[in-house]
Subunit: 290 residues, 2 copies
Amino acid sequence: MAEPAKSSPLSELRIALPSLPMRLQEVGRFVAANDYDATTRSMRDLAAVAGADPAAFTRLAKAIGYSGWDELRAALTEARRPSQIAPFSGRARSRRHGPNADVALVTDKLEAEAAGLPRIPAQPIAEAARALHDAKRIWITGYRSCRSVAELLNYELRLFRPEQVQLVGASGPDDLDLGAFRPGEAVIVIGFMPYTHASVRVAQAAYRAGAALIAIADSSSAPMAEGADHVLLFEAASSPGFFPSLTGAIAIAQSLAAVTFSLGGTAAKKRLENTEARLAAASTYVSEKG
Amino acid sequence: MAEPAKSSPLSELRIALPSLPMRLQEVGRFVAANDYDATTRSMRDLAAVAGADPAAFTRLAKAIGYSGWDELRAALTEARRPSQIAPFSGRARSRRHGPNADVALVTDKLEAEAAGLPRIPAQPIAEAARALHDAKRIWITGYRSCRSVAELLNYELRLFRPEQVQLVGASGPDDLDLGAFRPGEAVIVIGFMPYTHASVRVAQAAYRAGAALIAIADSSSAPMAEGADHVLLFEAASSPGFFPSLTGAIAIAQSLAAVTFSLGGTAAKKRLENTEARLAAASTYVSEKG
DNA sequence: CACTTTGTGCAACAAATGTTTCATGGCCGA
DNA sequence: TCGGCCATGAAACATTTGTTGCACAAAGTG
């Protein structure tokens, strides 16, 4: 007999499918088509939905080489585990040498970061933007490398809400403003592993003050995500290089600003125009050449 | 208290976390950090791994408003259902209004930026990195929104070349250091349309001083790209939203730092380790919990 | 036709699951 | 110091789970 492709339990199932009795085929197809429910719901539940006998699932599992349904389900569960979010599956990671090694590193990095962006959940960003829109005042926090993200967000939000946005710790490392948070305000904390004490302290202060807490982090188990009303996740470690990637955080920050701006309607638009006019009057920018 | 985000059971959990008794906090954190296992494995299994009492899971679920662990798990399971996690291809692009308009805006933005990243030319980045590697001293310039990119680059390069990297204008808007540039040094200027006068002046000063000029810009016709030894292009206008995209510039900056670091070899590695050790000694970071 | 083999549903089974109860110990207010 | 309260772990509970034995029907074989 030809050795079946052991790669995934699902492919094993599909391969064995045609040589199975009719009823098991039905059940097998059902499992293959609904493998998420297969891993999460009970055998009897599935049987009810599929309109089959519960015993058929056990028999199916045994028919394709497992000791029982439990073992098949465990295999399916492991196969779907999201931890292996390494979509660069078989990429030859053989040590690159030669003059093109650097170029290859850059290309890899850019590709990896591009792949990470669409995986950012959009819904929480839209919700967080609404919270920002409703906030009377917005505080922004980020330390070390995340400071750049914080400052970008601060800059963009200030373009159309100049008086209501402030960077935490702008006047120095000890200026934490922790006591200044009020209910009805929003506090944004940006950070990834390893997390700085200061950012965690800001998050806790925001929570205690009853302000809306928005965490932009690399993991939902980040300490500043505890108690957060909105957690916006990005993948910091998904790309090669010695340093975590910040493109995801930047993309989140800019999306957040964009949606908040669009929620602001004509009022925000007007204020943005004012700001731009002021900058133009100060001749900050080089005038466009024809 | 801010309006709680009812969107995801996970966020409900995080919100309620700080007000829970200690043991339930532990269990809650465990669930938040291992939500995949929470949906797939049994309560007793989880309790064994988490080192907690099985009853704690039931109590946790009740504490945050569910009738029991089964209901919480069902909610987590539904939240993870992959059908809604694949907003890519078949997304309904018709409805531009209503409550989903914001989400659509975010998704579009992220996709557009993801598409832009692989279009960034890698070769010039690698060459510019070599220029940085050879430079005795590195100056970094960026104003307005580009300041965040400049600061990120400054931060990352300083991790392994602390004494040779400096942000132009760090001491204020008038501290332009224009007279300080020397041959053998490198000057990085970051900017996009509309271009600030200051950045153009820095670029010109660098050119006159005979320093290696690296321009990170959105167009090869940008004024600071004139006379530059290396021009690194990104697409600032490729994504929707009121503000030009900076993910490309960030990606370039991080790639530049990564390649420069790899060119630095063991010496750079050693200096990075020293910096990390210093930060750890200052207990800047939250220590990892087991 | 008799007899075996195989597929299938049903029901009973033991094991495992989530829940509840109870006893214990620590904490805070009187 | 006492008494009530809450948090917590262990054990007992009813329920649900996956499994298996059995009966019956259909198909295959002599």
